[in-house]
């Protein structure tokens, strides 16, 4: 039996939304009792409509948000008990929008080496060497080390974000819609890169996506979320061939099939 990388049980997260100065607060339940288990080497996709709590769940798994109840264990230890720097070496995010995930005032080199510097690596030769290796790994030319984010294309920026996430060899990578801000032509490049890296570095992925084609192509497991709850989880083939929950069926039906007869059959 493979090692359990992520073990989340009954996660609940509420947001208090202030309705104005004297009108008190309203609670919004963004994640409602979600449990997940991800084994080493698996790719879990989380799908669901906008606002159903996917990003909130991802932030909890990254230790960036504290859940209100439930437990998260990463590699067997409770997430609250993992020291900040250890946690950073265990799990890393890749975000949707590569235009907002890179600090415009920092050079690419400084962005990619930040994780190493934070971990206390003082020797600049060491981190420069490692950064160039990682840039090579994600397909960035070495000359970009001294360039700035505004000189890079969206795809290149996303590669920088991937390099930053991978430089300290994390075990888990959580990608929140990693390709939805990119050009269609670049999307598959990035997805293939993520796939290659997973094999090369033995990574475990959680991929959040709206794009069911991406999910079908990448994921080994799919979890479907609806209004904060996980309504269904199954292996990818199974979910696509035999969806159980009505929301999953609607979701699958909403993909436009290239063949109109095919689409009619589904309905």
């Amino acid at each position: 039996m493979a090692e359990v990388m992520i073990d989340a049980k009954n996660i609940v997260k509420d947001f208090k939304i202030s309705k104005g100065l004297f009108r008190g607060k309203e609670t919004l339940r963004a994640v409602d009792g979600v449990s997940l288990q991800v084994l080493r080497g698996e790719i879990l996709a989380i799908v669901g409509e906008s606002g159903c709590g996917k990003t909130t769940l991802a932030k909890i798994l990254l230790g960036l948000l504290q859940q209100d109840s439930g437990t998260v264990e990463l590699c067997g230890s409770k997430i609250e008990q993992i020291p900040r720097l250890e946690l950073a070496k265990m799990v890393q995010p890749i975000f949707q929008d590569p235009y907002s995930s890179l600090n415009p005032r920092k050079s690419i080199g400084s962005i990619i080496t930040l994780p190493m510097r934070v971990q206390g690596e003082k020797n600049s030769d060491v981190w420069k060497k490692k950064a160039l290796q990682t840039m090579d790994l994600v397909g960035l030319p070495a000359r970009m080390f001294d360039q700035y984010p505004n000189q890079l294309s969206g795809g290149q920026r996303q590669r920088v974000a991937i390099a930053r996430a991978l430089i300290n060899s994390p075990k888990i990578v959580i990608c929140d819609e990693p390709t939805s801000a990119l050009d269609v032509s670049v999307q598959s490049q990035i997805l293939n890169l993520l796939n290659d890296l997973r094999e090369e570095l033995n990574l475990t992925y959680v991929i959040i996506s709206h794009n069911l084609a991406v999910v079908e192509h990448m994921a080994t497991q799919v979890a479907v979320m609806y209004f904060g709850e996980k309504v269904e989880e199954a292996e990818t083939d199974q979910l696509f061939s035999n969806p159980q929950h009505s929301y999953t069926k609607t979701l699958l039906n909403s993909i436009l099939s290239p063949d109109p007869r095919q689409r009619n059959k589904k309905n």
């Binding site: 960036l64 975000f95 415009p104 005032r105 930040l114 934070v118 700035y148 000189q151 294309s153 490049q189």
Partner: protein
């Protein structure tokens, strides 16, 4: 195909230079500001006379363009026979000192409060917003007058009081720009990478809000210079015999009718300095507009 290299400029800083050169207001403003700063620094070298030396036999000499004027006293002399040009030159030191000193103090206070409020939100934000509201509901001139009247006017007191009063704009602008930067993914990424809050504030947030800071600082420098002049004019700013421009206007006001240059010369100097500091500030805002060049 999209992975084609795009080599434009080497950093976000370059490109600013050409825009500066094309910005007329900024060029005029910065020229005058640089000139005044040079005059202030080099005052002992360029002032023709001792600004404190009284010569009661030569009182109220008119400036050189008047038929009775002499080249000995280009801008004439004041009611105590002190050389007006020399006082004007030394006065630039007072104006700049007060402007920069007050802007520095208020900049530190306002930036600290604004960044804390914007980054941490919640209760911290509530407290800071309350402080800003309190501050905005106090009329600066009246409060400054009252404090100076109680404590006594001196250069340090004026700088201190203005510094403690002019931080509101810093706080408001820093708060809103920090709020905006806080939600950027690179701040979240820095947290995920394990950066401490201090490090995030210093290396991710501050560099992205600091250009606003420079703009407000210049505007507040101008503000403080005007306020000092007003306080000194009312007799509650820096004390004689220091050659402050506001004080010079104040001392000249009794002789306004017959010796109008006593007011117009320091008045024009004040106007030119404040205008050019403002032009410089506006220009900097235009030139370094934050994220319009991604």
């Amino acid at each position: 195909m999209t992975d084609l290299p795009q080599i434009t400029s080497t950093s976000p800083i370059s490109g600013v230079k050409s825009r500066v050169l094309r910005h007329k207001g900024m060029m005029i403003g910065s020229t005058i500001v640089v000139l005044v700063v040079l005059i202030a620094i080099l005052a002992p070298l360029i002032a023709p006379h001792d600004p404190y030396h009284q010569d009661l036999l030569n009182r109220l000499k008119p400036p050189v363009w008047d038929s009775r004027g002499t080249w000995e006293h280009i801008f004439g002399t004041d009611h105590l026979g002190r050389d007006y040009l020399s006082r004007l030159i030394y006065g630039s030191r007072i104006s700049l000192l007060i402007g920069i000193g007050a802007a520095l103090i208020s900049g530190i206070i306002g930036t600290f409060l604004g960044v804390m409020a914007g980054y941490f939100g919640g209760r911290v934000d509530m407290v800071v917003t309350f402080l800003i509201t309190v501050r905005l509901s106090m009329p600066v001139v009246l409060v400054a007058l009252a404090v100076v009247a109680i404590v006594g006017g001196s250069l340090q007191v004026v700088i201190g009081v203005l510094g403690l009063l002019l931080w509101d704009r810093f706080a408001v602008v820093m708060r809103s720009s920090t709020l905006q930067i806080r939600s950027m993914d690179y701040v979240t990424a820095a947290r995920a990478v394990g950066c401490s809050t201090t490090r995030i504030l210093m290396t991710e947030v501050m560099p992205n809000v600091v250009n606003n800071l420079i703009v407000i600082a210049t505007l507040e420098i101008a503000h403080a210079i005007i306020l000092e002049a007003a306080l000194s004019f009312l007799g509650l700013g820096v004390q004689p015999p220091l050659p402050s421009w506001g004080l010079m206007v104040s001392e000249g006001k009794d002789m306004m009718l017959f010796e109008p240059w006593l007011i117009t010369i320091p008045g024009v100097a004040l106007f030119a300095l404040v205008l050019s500091v403002n032009l410089l500030g506006d220009g900097m805002r235009d030139v370094t507009a934050p994220e319009n060049r991604n």
